[in-house]
């Protein structure tokens, strides 16, 4: 077992994982430095989400090691990993994944409430972040009354309210239009830089990856230096596909 470098907040070595036999990751090593914004790029199906799941302790890789601040995640029990996710990590999914029964501010305050913070303090923190994300006017509405972009901003507010040490954002803007996308990412990256939060951002979009400090490219579950897919030929692959189906 090799001790991880000191300046990496998350450090993973040769992760292998397969979903019921379907290949997911095939030997990915990656280090995330403290306070940086790291983009994990690659086309759909290249293993970005699986990598983020492994790094955030939602999945235990079948082979390989994951360290968070010199603590091994791959040997932790589910309860400890749960606590780590609650106290140190935040997750932004492609879909907002809000709790439909709760109002906007309650959704944003939920991580704090789950940690046992007092009602008053949780509400104050949640309302502050909703204010910064320009959705304070909607604080008392339920998620179904909001637009998709607003819901996704609530989920960003929920991630930031918990003042985590690492935010994992898995394609946070995949379902949004370009204007909403730019605003959301700008807010997220600005907030992360000013509050010294590490962000691991999975995206297939080159423009989005340009906002990050550093990019790691994945292809078919492996780390590559550049993603270059074969160019599309004029015959649309007719010569390559000679099967008669």
């Amino acid at each position: 077992m090799v001790a991880p470098p000191d300046n990496d907040v998350i450090w993973a070595r040769s992760l292998h994982h397969s979903h019921n036999g379907s290949p997911g990751l095939g030997g990915v090593s990656v280090g995330v430095r403290d306070g940086e914004i790291l983009a994990v790029t690659g086309p759909r199906g290249s293993g970005k989400t699986t990598l983020l799941h492994c790094l955030s302790g939602q999945l235990v890789p079948q082979q390989g090691e994951v360290w968070y601040n010199s603590v091994p995640l791959h040997t932790m029990g589910p309860r400890l990993r749960e606590q780590l996710r609650r106290d140190r990590f935040a997750w932004i999914a492609p879909e907002p994944q809000l709790v439909p029964e709760l109002t906007t501010w309650e959704n944003a305050a939920l991580p704090l409430l789950l940690r046992g913070t007092s009602h008053r303090a949780a509400k104050k923190a949640a309302l502050e972040w909703l204010e910064r994300l320009d959705i304070a006017a909607l604080a008392k509405k339920r998620p179904h009354a909001l637009l998709q972009a607003q819901r996704q901003r609530v989920s960003v507010a929920r991630a930031l309210t918990a003042s985590p040490s690492v935010i994992f954002a898995d394609e946070p803007t995949a379902a949004l239009h370009r204007a909403d996308r730019t605003q959301l990412l700008r807010t997220l990256t600005t907030a992360a830089r000013s509050h010294d939060i590490t962000v691991v951002l999975a995206t297939h979009d080159v423009e989005v990856a340009a906002l990050a400090d550093r990019a790691v490219a994945l292809l078919d579950g492996r780390r590559v230096s550049t993603v270059t897919l074969p160019a599309v030929s004029d015959t649309e692959g007719r010569s390559a596909c000679s099967l008669s189906v």
Partner: protein, 391 residues
Amino acid sequence: MLALRLTRGTHPLVLARRLLVAAASAGVGFLLLCTLGYASGHPAQATGSVLRLLWCLVPLAAAVQFAVAVARTDPATRPRPGLFAIGLGPVRLSVLAAVSTAVSTTLGSMVALLLFLHLRGDLTGMPFDGRATELLGAGTPLPLAAALTLLALVPVASVLASALALRARPPVASSPTAPDGAGDPGTSGAPSGLPWGVALTAAGLAVEAYASRGPAGGSPFPLPGRLDATPAGVLAGWTLTAIGLAMAGPGLTYLCGRLLQAVRPGAVRLLAGRVLMDEARRIGRPLGVVCAVLSGVIAAAALYGTGPRPFGPLTALGAALVLGCTTATLLTSALEAKQARARTADALLRMGAPASALRGATAVRAGALLAVFAPLTWTVAQLAALPLTAA
């Protein structure tokens, strides 16, 4: 055929639920056949036979309610984006549900027929041959058309009810693409049945108290099988009370949820209360029905439990059916609510919510409901039994 193929691949628990439906259908079919046997054995006592047949309506209703609840939770008939995309919309899915309900209830009816004939002594070669010939009116030929009609009652009623219930479900078109967190806006807001329910319950109790003042001497309210005259007033009072409780159920559940999440709640209380408020309609109705049935049972036990021969085997079967079906319906509805919230629970777990918090929220919900509905059931039962025992 698709229904059968889907059935073959389903989880054992789902199959167990369907088997329970079949068992309920078998019980009701058996009771109906018993009344038929009694009627053909005692042609002189037509009124008693009709009374017995009418009493069978209660287990019938409970069995149909259970069949509908099972059809609603059946994963094979849940709206699925994949099936929706290939043209299996709500209409076809309700047909699927109807077919699988028909299969299980008809199976139950067949079992009831075989068991009935066997206990009468018409089919021989197994233990307990003809052990209950007297009770089931052996010796007189069973009218075939009547038997088939009675046996078809449960399947036909369940199929119609489940097809209608699933037709009324909101269309699936939005759900595959709708982001989660975008719950159905129609489900929010308080259920409106509470005042009506309270009024009906009170009216039922009053009617019953008034009706039971009547003739002195003798039991004011005989169970079936005792050939006294049944005062319609008492029966109407009990029915009104039951309907009132079923109507008040959602409103009471909503109030429970509202109280739970009041005054600076933590995460557990917040989740428990809000979920209860949102699920009030789904959980409240069967809960009210269970409450009504239990209060009826407690009142009946207070009235007849002290006699030399409290009740016969068929009455016991009927009571067990009603109790079992309503309780199973309640549990199935709770399961349906859990299935509907599975994605939210997943998202919460991904956020790092401890599983114990989610379990705690469920326990708090159940505790709150128990704390409200148990005293209510007991009070209604005591109030219902009071005028009859005092007379």
